[in-house]
Subunit: 299 residues, 2 copies
């Protein structure tokens, strides 16, 4: 295992990693850094990280694992700034939701003596910030590594680390990762944001009605649409092509279903809704969601 882990950026993912490491009994010293003094104060107050540093240099010095947990748009600047302080043989990884963009932003700035193994934990909540983390976040969720030719020993070590945090680990090509995530995450988020924005905007329905009658479906969209705006802005800007491709397919299909509604084609609708029902069963069987109705909410 590692001796010193540097967490750069102290939001939901980094704070969950810290608590998961402690739960796992990992003895590495965990050094933390956040750009905002307020976040660093909060981290010190709640005991997040074994040491909290006011500079990137102090945080990453002597670390044998450096984890970049900042929004994708901030990755390049951070990589440039930490590069001179990275120990030879150290592993640098990240938790960004897009992999090709991170590889292009970070890779060129890292010294040759460092192993760069990009990664993405497929886990999260709608909350953000240093207080939002919890040890169970990665349990039975998938962590995707996109090693992109990195040293196999470094990859194996990082894999073992994430498994200790509770995750299942998979490896993938960066571009394929970005396409898969456009389907399972990026397009759904944009769609949820859009639907919530439309409801908020509608002159003929009051906000009060939208809020009170949200339990009929809408409230589920609002959870996703409450996700961190900066993180998601960066996701869409850096996974542009794959996201737009999936949204194009989505719009085509939506138009086909709208046509079926307009023409009263009940058979088409019924067949479609029966097919989609089956996918949820697969997700529950794979342990990726609860079988309890309403996600376990009683009403």
């Amino acid at each position: 295992m590692y001796n010193r882990v540097a967490l750069v950026g102290l939001g939901l993912i980094a704070s969950s990693m810290f608590w998961a490491m402690k739960r796992a009994g990992i003895e590495a010293h965990v050094a933390g850094y956040a750009r905002s003094a307020q976040t660093r104060d909060t981290a010190r107050e709640i005991g997040l990280c074994d040491s909290v540093h006011d500079t990137l240099a102090a945080c990453v010095t002597d670390a044998d694992l450096v984890v970049l947990c900042v929004p994708i748009g901030a990755m390049e600047a951070v990589a440039k700034e930490i590069a001179p302080f990275l120990a030879p043989g150290a592993t640098v990884t990240d938790v960004g939701s897009v992999k090709r963009a991170v590889i292009e932003a970070v890779g060129p700035h890292l010294p040759d003596a460092v192993h760069f193994v990009p990664g993405h934990p497929l886990a999260g909540t709608e909350h953000s910030g240093p207080r939002s983390g919890f040890a169970e976040l990665f349990d039975n969720r998938w962590h995707v590594l996109t090693p992109n030719g990195a040293d196999t020993q470094a990859v194996a070590q990082l894999r073992a680390y994430w498994e200790a945090l509770g995750a299942n680990v998979d490896e993938m090509e960066p571009d394929h990762h970005d396409l898969v995530l456009a389907v399972t995450s990026h397009a759904p988020h944009l769609i949820a944001y859009t639907m919530v924005g439309v409801a908020d905007d509608l002159q003929r329905v009051t906000n009060n009605e939208v809020v009170n009658y949200s339990a009929t479906g809408f409230r589920d969209f609002t959870r996703i649409a409450a996700s961190d705006p900066t993180m998601w802005r960066d996701v869409f800007l850096t996974n542009k092509d794959a996201t737009l491709e999936i949204l194009g397919r989505f719009t085509e299909e939506l138009f086909a279903l709208q046509r079926a509604i307009r023409q009263g084609d009940g058979d088409h609708l019924h067949e479609y809704f029966t097919r989609t029902r089956a996918i949820r069963r697969g997700i529950i069987d794979a342990g990726q969601d609860t079988a309890a109705p309403n996600f376990g909410r009683r009403s």
Copy 2:
């Protein structure tokens, strides 16, 4: 309160009504009917309803409250069949998700001596059938009545009944109800069905990937898209205009956001995602969803 309540159709809503009535200590005899012999057998096996009947006539005879809990497309045939057996002074209500269509399908067939007070409980889960009900389903959820000129005494009595089942009761014009629900329920459901269908269909991403990596957003859509296909087919066919209007607005807005992505307009995206975040706070404050991250799922 009522002396005999007839539940016509024994799915999620009717079975939840039965358990909620028993929890509330309502002493009325509850008579149940389902078209399918298998559903009736299940109801008898699990003690759902005080009596289960093989015919509509036997179920509704002598009832002072008749609740139509069948898909909207079945409402007219049921109304025709029960009309001769309805007791003078009885109240007929329903639980359909669209109100104008139910009023047109049911109203003309009911005798003048009967009070018709259409209604809609804004509650549900993705499960269906006689085993899916539970007493808490309506707690702190809204029940909308669209009395449409019905006798005020009958409306007041029905309001008190739903309040005893745990619901808050509101009154609305039928057309306004249908528009509000198009926003909070019907459009979100069609969008979720569409996204799940697209993911299922995509040749370049395997179903296994979609399932394993669903915790990043997609799985939430699959819950909604696992809802009853017959019920939802009927909703879209009978609330066509309002649903298509909202979907039109949705598509406009989606195109605007796609353009912002294509043009790299990060400010527009960030501003939009910040605004949508606020709505969830309103829903949580109104007690219409849990504040726990991930709907309370631990990961």
